[in-house]
Symmetry: C2
Subunit: 206 residues, 2 copies
DNA sequence: TCCCGTCTCATCCTTTTGGCTGATACGGCC
DNA sequence: GGCCGTATCAGCCAAAAGGATGAGACGGGA
């Protein structure tokens, strides 16, 4: 019998998963949680074979952070990410945090079952679209912005001017422009407008 | 007995909703669909009292368009939007298309039941966060971009320059600048960077 | 030790953008 | 017919952004 804990802030998703998994004789949902904090506590309490974890979780810590906390408290815990979107950044962060697999919410039931059974045995699983994105992200290390550049890009997406960026980061406008030039090159764009567009679409919105 | 049709591309969401609604003696899910096209057909076939419709639907027509089509074919059909995000644009568009209510996926079960029963009687229902956003959107009619301006804004978020915008829209750069100035004023920003940031955050990503 | 990546800054020059003012044209609406 | 919103265009000027190049400081790794 494979015991499973569900962590998702949407009640309908939890009900759906529970209904789906209950059709399988060898899988049992032993507990649910609706927030990251709660999820960590629930998992520690029940010690399930597999955790199905959403990433976006309203208030409080998100799924990534929850996975990270679980990793330190219970390193061998199998966690499957189960989420709607497959943004590059999320995938990389989740894998980095120690997720054993990454399922999309529109996955076929059989894929979900297989992933749960696999995770219980220590095998990792990736939804096909996710795998291809991860592959692409690894193949494209150009996009590896330096910490400083990432910081700048974040502020850039808030619409700040070079002058404002300089003030906020305590550097001269010249330095801002240097960083921007590097960012543009790495993102493969040639204007701040495109950079913002690319950055905002890459993070989050599918 | 209130008959309901579910339209959502996520199987777990449909299962969850079905499980949830099945606990109510006076509500029955008579059919499900996993795409906009299919949803329209299914609704026309079954003629349910209430439709629960997701907005984002992967490929094909989205929930808004599905509602719009239903509106022309069956003007009195009660449709409740049931979605994850509450972006201003989506809410306005959904209400505009003829949605009878707007529920968020993290709504409490009782709220969902009440909304379904209300919709069956012709009453509209808004989740609290949605209502406040709608109110804000109405109170702020400045944001009402003209069709042309909206078109420009869309292209703007793709990172195009004024020259490129002009070419693509068959207008002079001068006209582009005029439109942009109006857009900036309406969005309350003063640079294309901020406009892009605002536009991309307003649409979609919560 | 020397090299390389990172972060910092500067100068010069070109292109792009933004702000302002004013103008024409078309289509509704009172 | 006059008014208003929308869409179109022009010219002018100042500010911002982008491209090219060079360079100093610091730290880690070969």
């Amino acid at each position: 019998m494979i015991s499973v804990v569900l962590v998702d802030d949407h009640l309908v998703v939890r009900s759906g998963l529970r209904a789906l998994l209950s059709t399988q004789p060898d899988i049992e949902v032993v507990a649910e949680a609706s927030s990251g904090e709660n999820g960590v506590a629930t998992v520690l309490e029940h010690g399930p074979d597999v955790v199905l974890m959403d990433l976006a979780m309203g208030a409080g810590i998100d799924g990534i952070e929850a996975i990270r906390q679980l990793r330190t408290r219970r390193p061998k815990q199998a966690v499957l990410v189960f989420t709607t979107y497959d943004s590059d950044a999320d995938i990389v962060r989740a894998v980095d945090a120690g997720a054993m697999g990454y399922l999309l919410k529109d996955a076929a039931p059989d894929e979900i079952f297989a992933a749960v059974r696999g995770a219980a045995k220590g095998q990792s699983h990736m939804s096909a679209p996710v795998a291809s994105r991860l592959f692409q992200a690894m193949r494209n290390p150009d996009e590896a912005l330096t910490p400083r550049e990432a910081e700048l890009l974040t502020l850039l997406t808030q619409g700040l001017s070079n002058k404002e960026l300089g003030k906020k980061l305590f550097i001269s406008e010249a330095t801002v422009k240097t960083h921007l030039a590097h960012i543009y090159a790495k993102l493969g764009v040639d204007s701040r407008a495109s950079a913002i567009a690319k950055a905002l679409r890459r993070e989050g919105m599918r």
